[in-house]
């Protein structure tokens, strides 16, 4: 198992009730895998998952990006800056 820091914004933050989670996940977990696990815990997030982008250590990443111990994964719902 390894630790990843999960950053949650907007709807994710509100539904989960926290802006940041420390997760223990199996070695080899992917960004998409972590999201799938979150959605399993919070079914209300299911509708949002398909439109979500990922960032690993503050850079955009694909759903199949493999995570490493100590990394920061962010779930980014569609942005709407400005």
């Amino acid at each position: 198992m390894m630790k990843v820091k999960l950053k949650l914004f907007a709807t994710y933050r509100e539904k989960v009730g926290q802006s940041e989670l420390e997760l223990s996940v199996p070695e080899g977990s992917t960004a998409g895998g972590v999201l799938a696990r979150l959605v399993a815990d919070y079914p209300a997030l299911a509708g949002l998952a398909g439109a979500t982008m990922f960032a690993v250590d503050q850079e955009f990443a694909a759903a199949d990006a493999v995570l490493y111990d100590g990394q920061e994964l962010a779930l980014l719902p569609p942005v709407s800056g400005g």
Binding site: A10, Q58, F60, V79, S80, G81, G82
Partner: protein, 137 residues
């Protein structure tokens, strides 16, 4: 020059940051909170950012602009927190030797920001609220 802040912002402040004696044109953009959205009256808005990544992405937009145009002065500031109608959510200032470049680069900056900078807004009306996703803007 690339900043997420919870304090009020104004394009005018950024203009002062980018102006130099070598420049001939300064173009600014201010994105202002609108009082109506799709026919509904908006009470206020709440902006939220992934601050570290947003500031990094805004700085990258600056680098892209410097690579594409003969421009070396650009500033972008985005506000977060609760915003009243009429307040500025995002401000951009670009200075360039000639006006065409300044207009192009400023428009490029806001287009890129709307697509790739992790900032979200929630519209709050009298009878509800929603996080607004990607849009034409």
């Amino acid at each position: 020059m690339f900043e997420i802040t919870d304090k009020p912002i104004a394009a005018a402040d950024l203009e002062d940051l980018v102006i130099t004696n070598a420049d001939g044109a300064v173009v600014t953009f201010a994105g202002v909170v609108r009082g109506h959205s799709k026919g509904k009256k908006v009470l206020y808005l709440e902006y939220e950012a992934y601050k570290e990544m947003a500031e990094k992405k805004m700085a990258e937009i600056g680098e892209e602009i410097k690579a594409r145009w003969p421009i070396d002065r650009i500033a972008i500031r985005h506000r977060v927190g609760y915003l009243e109608i009429g307040e500025t959510a995002v401000a951009i200032a670009v200075s360039a030797p000639h006006r065409q470049e300044a207009f192009e680069a400023c428009q490029y900056a806001i287009d890129r920001l709307k697509r790739f900078v992790p900032v979200w807004k929630k519209e709050v009306w009298e009878d509800g609220e929603v996080w607004v996703g990607r849009e034409g803007g």
